[in-house]
Amino acid sequence: MSFLGANGPDSLIWWDWVDRHREEIKQATFEHLRLTLIAVAVGFLISGALALVALRYRWTYAPITWITGVLYTIPSLALFVLLVPWTGFTTLTGEIGLVSYTLLILIRNIVAGVDSVPAPVKEAADAMGYRPVRRFFAVDLRLATPTIIAGLRIATVTTIGLVTVTGLIGLGGYGGLINDGIDRTFSTPIVVGAGLSVVMAVTLDVGLAGVERVLTPWARRKVAR
């Protein structure tokens, strides 16, 4: 316990620093959460729209995944730096990058989820007299829910990690704490920033898993059997 417990120069974390910077840590947590939620929400909306286009016009799926795939491969720091001359050190710069990283995962999962709906189920729905739009929302999308939420979970956890990078362009969040620690070769803010981002990732992931359970009672019962 000595290396977490004491306040000597060798310990990884100085608890009295944590105590004195409560307000700052709270602020960082709030900013980190805000950046993450905006990114995932906006990313989900754009992905939903693009997935609809891809599902309706099949030929667009390849170019859509290609473009979002290219976006996904650009190193995050490079993307932020490239955007700064245009949009400055703003939330917008951060969010453009963050959102673009969620697109590939979310679009793929939405399309894969809808595609995985068994053909006999779709056929039965048509034969029962569902009209196309109603069938899409009442059958296809409902059955795609587990896959879509799986995508949201990956996107959320990934974004939480990436938000620490936006700290480098001065957007706050846990990245701010980590930068501060690196600049001063002082481990405590680094450990606090990294540790809390892990806690946030796990919390949101578990939360989304809970949402999935509530939204897909049929899947839960199947497991329970």
């Binding site: 006999p120 189920v121 039965a124 729905a125 029962m128 049929w218 059997r225």
Partner: protein
């Protein structure tokens, strides 16, 4: 009507013309590639015909709004196509909900259907994945019948369940149809299933060519050609025997005498029939039978200890079942009784053969 799929040179169904009688069950049978499923799906326009016309109750289906047409036609498929995310109750209520029925009406109808298809009401709150294959298939039928459509389309409904359950579901369908009298179109590759269930069978060849159409017994007695004969398979007479019933053949009186008759008369009756056993009756009750040897030294027929006829049938017993009993019996005959156990006559192998020849 015809159907040619894009990119295919030969039509899947070529100028098929068929009139299916309403209120009865017609089976479309044939090898894979014969277009039987395509034909079925053109009725509710899951597949649009390339040319021709399909009339349902005098209305051309192509001119009807798609969803309206489909809500009036029940549809049952092999893998049931139940909605995995909906409870059994919600699955059954699919079409009524689409039609905008009130809650109370839907609930009452669901209850009726559960009784009709023999489903445990406990299952209504479950999800499809929690049910056995047979139960799922019953739910599929209940869902198809929910809005009481005059027409029911069934696409290989029983091919995914095991043979024992399949047999039971087939029996249930026969009983169900006796109550609801729907116009049912059944697609199957199993000729025996078609023979068992259908009032009429259409045998299709590759490319949707109609080889023969008629009641199963007619097809079995007189297959139109080699293809139909091959498709019907071996033992056609036995298969037809399973369709014909005891009431379809003439019965004989048999070596049976009134219990009040004299012993001499009894020997004469046995001699006339060329048998060494005698049946005893008291009015329209059949008492049993005895060997000729048992009559030796007996003064009155009433003194004989008779054996009951173990081979006995009802008028609605299939001939095949009757034949099975006859060949297994000591007397080589089956006694026929009506539902009130009144004696109607004897059935022999000769009677069956004569009846089959008609």
């Amino acid at each position: 009507m015809s159907k040619r799929f894009p990119g295919s040179r030969t039509p899947a169904v070529q100028e098929l013309s068929l009139e299916l009688p309403s209120g009865s069950l017609a089976a479309l049978v044939g090898p894979s590639g014969c277009g039987k499923t395509t034909t079925l799906k053109m009725i509710n326009r899951l597949i649009e015909p390339t040319s021709g016309c399909i009339e349902v109750q005098g209305r051309n289906v192509v001119e009807m709004p798609l969803h309206e047409l489909r809500r009036g036609i029940g549809y049952v498929i092999q893998q049931t196509g139940l909605f995995p995310h909906k409870t059994i109750a919600a699955n059954i209520a699919t079409v009524p909900s689409l039609l905008g029925w009130g809650k109370e009406r839907v609930r009452e109808r669901t209850q009726e259907l559960v009784d009709l298809v023999g489903l445990d009401p406990e299952l209504l709150r479950r999800y499809p994945a929690e049910l056995s294959g047979g139960q799922q298939q019953r739910v599929g039928v209940a869902r198809a019948l929910a809005a009481d459509p005059p027409i029911l389309l069934m696409d290989e409904p029983y091919s995914a369940v095991d043979p024992i359950v399949r047999g039971r579901l087939q029996d249930e369908l026969i009983a169900l149809q006796a109550r609801v009298h729907k116009t049912i179109v059944l697609v199957t590759h199993d000729i025996d299933e078609a023979i068992k269930l259908a009032d009429h069978i259409a045998i299709l060849n590759v490319g949707g060519v109609l080889e023969q159409f008629g009641p199963p017994a007619d097809l079995l007695r007189a297959p139109a050609n080699e293809f139909v004969a091959n498709f019907l398979g071996r033992e056609r007479a036995l298969k037809r025997m399973a369709l014909l019933r005891v009431r379809d053949v003439e019965l004989v009186s048999g070596p049976v005498v009134e219990v009040s008759a004299s012993v001499e008369e009894s020997f004469k009756v046995m001699a006339d029939h060329g048998v060494d056993w005698l049946g005893l009756r008291d009015g329209d009750r059949l008492l049993g039978w005895a060997w000729a040897a048992d009559l030796d030294g007996v003064r009155s027929l009433g003194d004989i200890a008779t054996e009951p006829f173990r081979a006995w049938v009802r008028p609605d017993t299939p001939l095949r079942e009757a034949l099975d009993l006859i060949v297994d019996s000591s007397t080589r005959v089956a006694a026929v009784f009506d539902d009130e156990d009144r004696y109607l006559g004897m059935l022999t192998i000769q009677q069956i053969a004569d009846g089959m020849a008609q």
